[in-house]
Amino acid sequence: MKLSVGAVAEPGSTRANKTGTWRTFRPVFNADLCVGCGICSQFCPEGIIHEKNDKYATDYDYCKGCGICAAECPKGAIKMVLEVK
């Protein structure tokens, strides 16, 4: 974000602003339990859970740690783990 009158930003600001910085819990995906149903990616409010070789993972740059994916996963493949810094 650059300083501008009225805080006006060009497109792509959501990509530039890394919203994953204030996360308290981190979703950890267990590929062994994941059946690739994609429910987590449907529910993620940030739209950042993606598929890779039939398994699912998230983008920690933007994941705010809300835990919705873990709550929705029917296989218990996502665990919320406290972030340690």
């Binding site: 974000m1 009158v5 009225g6 805080a7 006006v8 497109p11 600001s13 602003n17």
Partner: protein, 390 residues
Amino acid sequence: MKVIEGSYAVAEAVRVCKPHVISAYPITPQTHIVETLSQMVADGAIKAEYVRVESEFSAISVCIGASAAGTRTYTATTSQGLALMHEALFNAAGMRLPIVMTAVNRSLSAPLSIWNDQQDTISQRDTGWIQLHAENAQEASDTIIQAYKIAEYRSILLPVMVCMDGYILTHVYEPVELWEQKKVDAFLPEFDPVHVLDPKKPKTFGAFADPSLYTEFRYMVQEAMEVAKKKIVDIANEFRDEFGRYYGGLIDEYRAKDAETLILAMGSVIGTIKDAIDEMRADGIPVGLLKIRAYRPFPVDTIRDAVAGAKAIIVLDKNISMGYEGALFTDVKSALYGKSGVTALGFILGLGGRDITKQTIKDMVAKALEAMKSGKVQECEFVDLRKEVL
């Protein structure tokens, strides 16, 4: 010159400013303004889009969107409606959108009251809107024309609230001088926005700012307010040269130069005070008036200079910050802190439509004279409090 209702005069002033978008929700005592404007739009007298909405929150939101799209916008509201706009008012200022609004002054619930005081706009003091107070119908409408010029000035770009007392100004019939379209066009150039919201070139207005920049964005608004302090004065002078009417810049003075006691107030009560001053002067009491025209930006230096020769000041507040005192009184005292040893008295009055008479004013001046002698000052006094019903 025509004898017309205050609300009609305001609508006429809006018409000659040629807004592109008007959006409002009717609420007493603002209704006559927007009713007249919607009729004007329907009659083709204004080539504006009149957006009917289901609430004041939507009305201001429509203005925010339309202003971001580069159009000149207008809305009007009062009291509960203004309170409902509260959240979006910050957005309008932060996005630097030069919306002009007539904020009709009315008391807030509870208890329910539709009558005048100034609690509603005072409670929006910190939103980043410029607030100008009008003394009569002519000023309330002339100030609309000035307000667009102030708001749209490139290094200001802030929304402006033109405050006018409900009923006392909105429903009164007064002789009002109307405007020649040609003259207004010459005075008020087209709005030339810095950023334009356009689907072909998408942009985010009021985007996310993390702690590394939020302060600087707020500072920019504060700087714009400083520019406005000068520009409000310049534009008032330009208006005088062009239209022959003048109401003061940030403040105005009446018989203030040699006054020992100065009364500070805003809005329609100014007229009553002037009459009371004339009568007191005839009785040999050296009293004068400082009319606060700009409440935000607050004219700190101008007030300091104007008060310099006085021995006592009386500040009238048609509002109260509960648990403290009247907001104008607090602001005036803070402006004078360390600069003046003047005796300062603050009065709460005119709440929920209680009349303020010349006698009310004279009684306050008598109290100030008393306080100067005794050295005893009651800082926050409710005027004409009906102790018998408490």
